[in-house]
């Protein structure tokens, strides 16, 4: 198993939750396994629910076509940094990255 890193999830109110994540997991899995409120991941990461919407740090790639289509209809309006966190694979380089949780989800 690769060494775990730390991801930070930040609410709209500014509260930060630090969770361990393992390269190979998705960012959604790391959040859900640790019960980060506001990231549900109800479909388990198969691009069916959009309940794992985050505002991601820059440089983590761009949404694929299905992800892009689903982001057009998220509960909280998408922004330039919108991603579905189930589609972002955790990498060692992400240690300390901050993901913002949309307010109303």
């Amino acid at each position: 198993m690769p060494d775990p890193i730390t991801l930070i999830f930040r609410t709209a109110a500014g509260t930060e939750t630090r969770v361990p994540a393992t390269p190979g997991q998705s960012v959604m899995e790391a959040a859900v396994m640790n019960g980060v409120a506001g990231i549900e991941g109800e479909c388990g990461g198969c691009l069916s629910c959009a309940t794992c919407h985050v505002f991601a740090p820059e440089g983590l790639g761009t949404p694929g076509p299905d992800e892009d289509a689903m982001l057009d209809c998220t509960e909280v309006e998408r922004g330039p940094r919108s991603r579905l966190s189930c589609q972002i694979a955790v990498t060692a380089a992400m240690d300390g990255a901050v993901f913002d949780i949309p307010a109303a989800e």
Binding site: V32, M33, G35, C43, S48, D66, A69, M70, D72, E75
Partner: protein
């Protein structure tokens, strides 16, 4: 609820799958300060089930991903007890008895006992059902090249297993008693595209086949016998013939049942004010519906888990979540929103086919009631929002795939 324990009483949750775990999480994160005990009859951390009928069957991963890691339960002070089956509810003394002889007192009880797959009348080592990880592991061994799998029932489980079996290289014959698969869930045009793909992938579909019975040879089924007496050889059988809600505990405790489930009101409270029921086992009456119903879906389990917690935390709004559901077969992504009404007049958005389309049902005031999308994820997401909003649509715009469905609202009169 009477005699409300504030936010400090002991909540016992019976059943630790999607609904039960969500209720525990939402209670704690919503500020419940009392003890929360989550009881699971299984011997492993609660895990995700949707994939068990899909990719899990074609991969060699030993385990399904857990819903939460162990540190989550510890950090949130949720007492998760595995291998713990509740045998009786003593409503008068507000306590439950477990199979280990333990007695647990509760202030509030949440029943999230789920459902059990229906089985064929015959039992044999190669006749499978699919509900939990143990079932999925056993079934997976039967999906090998050269093996012939007989699938009984053309519902979501049966069709997903058929797709997985073909991917694994096994032969598949699928028997559906009715003339049409998924007749209560999908419009005929969507079923048509789905079944055409199954046939193209080599699934031998036998519709309107009537009841079939397993022909046993010792401890194994060697064939299925059709209503006309013909026998069709197979190496394994999977029965995807629906589920019955786990209502035994509730019934023995004298709780009111309805629609095959545990009757609950809009606060998901049963006929005992100290007991709620959520998920597959709960029969509720959605707003505007005339009769109680049960929903077997992840969305319903999670939304009811959240709602039951919100009620205990003092929220007063009735349960009114828009249901949604998905199924993946091959690379077809089927997504449904709203309560299905497959035979109501429909609006077709796009051309039926694998390139993506949706079937929309509008009511007399042009409000979206339900939507079935195939390879059209954006339509599905928009549909969920439009159904919840209950706003009238412009039917011509809604039917035009060149315009986003989300913006198909009728211009204000």
């Amino acid at each position: 609820m009477d005699g409300a324990p504030g936010m400090a009483g002991h909540v016992v949750i019976v059943g630790a799958s999607h609904a039960g775990v969500q209720a525990a999480q939402s209670l704690r994160q919503g500020g419940w300060s009392g003890p929360i005990t989550l009881l699971s009859a299984e011997d492993r951390l609660p895990y995700q089930r949707p994939d068990l009928s899909k990719a899990f069957l074609t991969e060699d991963r030993p385990d399904a991903p857990p819903l939460k890691g162990l540190p989550f339960y510890e950090a949130n002070d949720i007492a998760l007890k595995l291998n713990c089956r509740v045998t009786a509810i003593d409503r008068a003394l507000r306590r439950v008895h477990t199979d280990s002889g333990e007695t647990l007192g509760y202030d509030r009880l949440i029943l999230a006992t789920g459902a059990t797959p229906r089985r064929l009348s015959a039992a044999a080592e190669n006749i499978h059902v699919l509900r939990d990880l143990t079932d999925a592991r056993a079934l997976r061994k039967a999906l090998r090249p050269g093996q012939r799998l007989a699938v009984i029932g053309g519902g979501f489980i049966g069709l997903e297993v058929a797709a997985a079996a073909r991917k694994a290289g096994a032969g598949v014959i699928l028997f559906e008693a009715a003339p049409r698969c998924l007749a209560r869930a999908l419009p005929a045009v969507a079923t048509g595209v789905l079944l055409a793909r199954h046939r193209a992938e080599g699934v031998d579909l036998r519709l309107a086949c009537g009841p079939v019975a397993a022909v046993l040879d010792g401890t194994r089924a060697r064939a299925l016998r059709l209503a006309d007496g013909r026998e069709i050889r197979c190496d394994a059988v999977v029965a995807g013939i629906g589920c019955t809600a786990e209502t035994g505990l509730a019934q023995a405790a004298g709780l009111t049942l309805a629609a095959g489930g545990i009757a609950v009101d809009a606060a998901l409270v049963t006929s005992d004010p100290a007991i709620q029921a959520i998920g597959d086992c709960a029969a509720f009456t959605p707003p505007g519906a005339g009769a109680p119903l049960r929903l077997e879906s992840i969305q319903n389990a999670a939304d009811q888990g959240r709602h039951a917690a919100a009620v205990l935390l003092g929220a007063a709004t009735p349960f009114a979540a828009v249901p949604w559901f998905w199924s993946h077969q091959y690379d077809l992504r089927l997504q449904m929103a709203g309560f299905p009404c497959p035979d109501a007049p429909a609006l077709l958005r796009g051309t039926p086919g694998e390139a993506g389309f949706s079937v929309l049902h509008l009511d007399a005031r042009h409000r979206l009631v339900s939507a079935v999308s195939l390879n059209a994820a954006a339509d599905h997401m928009a549909a969920r929002r439009l159904i919840a909003a209950g706003v009238p649509l412009d039917p011509a715009r809604a039917a035009d795939p060149g315009q986003p469905l989300l913006h198909a609202q009728a211009d204000a009169a």
